[in-house]
């Protein structure tokens, strides 16, 4: 989803808030919340993808104002309620915060082109050095393809191995295994000609977020990237 959590490249947040001699936790509820969430994840009460998505579904105004582990608490509470593990009456005296609704993937959706299952052997479609383009898609559910790279051209640096696709796993779609690649984008490709020429951003992207860079004959940009930095 194009949510408030997808912060890369945004302006207006001001200087980075730093704290000298920062403790690991700032309050007892923070350490309790950290532990509770870890145990729920360890016990597979919900998946990490579902949990991340629940935090993304916190209304934007609440998300930006909440403390870090407060978001963990709101997300976990919402998921436990949605899954019927706890009831609203179990949380007497606690102010309700509704998450934006999510959806479950139907069996059909799991089989359609958005969540296309790769071959059983999970072959890698790309190899280091390949020129790729991050797909310009705007999924309504969870994704780990941030807006700032969509539609941009990059280069595969290395293959990180095979991991479950978050876009499915966050919505009850199970473990759709795909290769994840470290993809490097030139800073100028992402931010324009004012960015320093040599700088770059590398990001970890699931295979289906990528397509081969199309050959471009008109301006000399071939698939092997000649004419591009």
């Amino acid at each position: 989803m194009n949510g408030v959590h997808d912060l890369g490249g945004m302006h207006g947040f001001g200087p980075i808030p730093r704290e000298e001699n920062e403790p690991v936790f700032h309050a007892d509820w923070e350490r309790r919340m950290y532990g509770i969430a870890r145990i729920l994840l360890n016990q597979r009460v919900f998946t990490l993808d579902e949990y991340r998505h629940s935090i993304e579904r916190i209304p934007p105004s609440v998300y930006l104002g909440a403390k870090y582990y407060e978001k963990w608490a709101i997300g976990a509470t919402g998921l436990l309620l949605e899954k019927g593990i706890i009831k609203p009456s179990d949380l007497k005296g606690v102010k309700p915060i509704n998450l934006n609704p999510t959806f479950s993937l139907s069996a059909k959706a799991r089989g359609d082109s958005i969540f296309k299952h790769p071959s059983r052997a999970v072959k890698a479609r790309f190899k280091p050095g390949d020129k790729v383009i991050a797909r310009n898609v705007n999924p309504r559910g969870h994704t780990r393809l941030p807006r700032y790279v969509r539609g941009k051209r990059g280069t595969i640096q290395f293959d990180e191995g095979v991991f479950a696709l978050p876009d499915a796993n966050a919505h009850g779609g199970g473990m759709i295994l795909q290769h994840v690649y470290s993809v490097r984008f030139a800073a100028r490709e992402l931010w324009g000609p004012e960015a320093p020429a040599r700088d770059s951003v590398a990001i970890d992207l699931w295979e289906q977020y990528l397509e081969p860079e199309p050959a471009r004959s008109s301006n000399g940009r071939g698939r092997n990237g000649r004419g591009r930095r």
Partner: protein
């Protein structure tokens, strides 16, 4: 230990329990009553991440790499295995660790724009600034401005590589060994390796600043 922290907390904020305190208490009590959370496991987990795991682990790894070229090669080749070799699990649930070497010409810096992915096994839990919207928003688009805020000035001809940690690999920066440290022991070197230098927003401390006082244990290192 937990009771002690609680007392501390109440002492610090002389105010009624906040919404969030009540929310987490309610959550813990219902989950414990349903048998989904074991209070002992909870205390152990908290203790591990509050007191045992932290940047002192990453600092040991870096100091070893500075002192032992063969170890450094192994670390850059396979971060997970090399950290394991020193007796540390690289993170929960077999997470893969990739180590990025800073050089005079290439400076790596790590962020997670979408949430807060961080190498827990070698650095512990992230500081608030790493999780802040400001850092997450700016690190990818304005890394030089971000580094300047941390007092890190890089020449224009140094290449900055930002790593947006968006999947299940975690990144640890191997900072440059500071000049003037040739005679230092591995333990002394570890005292120069800050958390921020292993995220990539700062360089390792210079020996003068670092030698003055070295943290006596991991706990102190958390707070550097």
């Amino acid at each position: 230990m937990a009771a002690n922290h609680q007392a501390h907390e109440h002492h610090r904020h002389d105010e009624p329990e906040s919404d969030i305190t009540l929310r987490v208490k309610a959550l813990e009590s219902i989950l414990v009553s349903k048998g989904l959370v074991d209070p002992q496991a909870l205390d152990m987990l908290i203790d591990t991440y509050e007191h045992r795991v932290g940047p002192h682990i990453g600092a040991k790894v870096v100091a070893r790499a500075w002192s032992d070229p063969a170890y450094k090669r192994r670390l850059l080749e396979d971060g997970t295995a090399a950290v394991n070799e020193l007796g540390f699990p690289p993170g929960p649930e077999g997470i893969n660790l990739i180590v990025l070497e800073n050089t005079p010409k290439v400076h790596n810096v790590v962020v997670c724009t979408l949430c807060s992915c961080y190498p827990w096994g070698t650095l512990g839990l992230p500081p608030v600034w790493y999780k802040s919207p400001a850092y997450r928003a700016r690190a990818v688009g304005d890394p030089r401005g971000v580094l300047r805020e941390f007092g890190t000035e890089l020449d224009d001809d140094v290449e900055i590589r930002v790593w947006d940690s968006s999947a299940e690999v975690r990144y640890l920066v191997l900072p440059e060994r500071p000049p003037g440290t040739e005679r230092m022991t591995e333990e002394e070197l570890a005292g120069l390796v800050t958390r921020d230098s292993m995220i990539g927003v700062a360089k390792a401390k210079s020996p003068k600043a670092g030698a003055r006082k070295r943290p006596g244990n991991g706990r102190a290192e958390h707070r550097v």
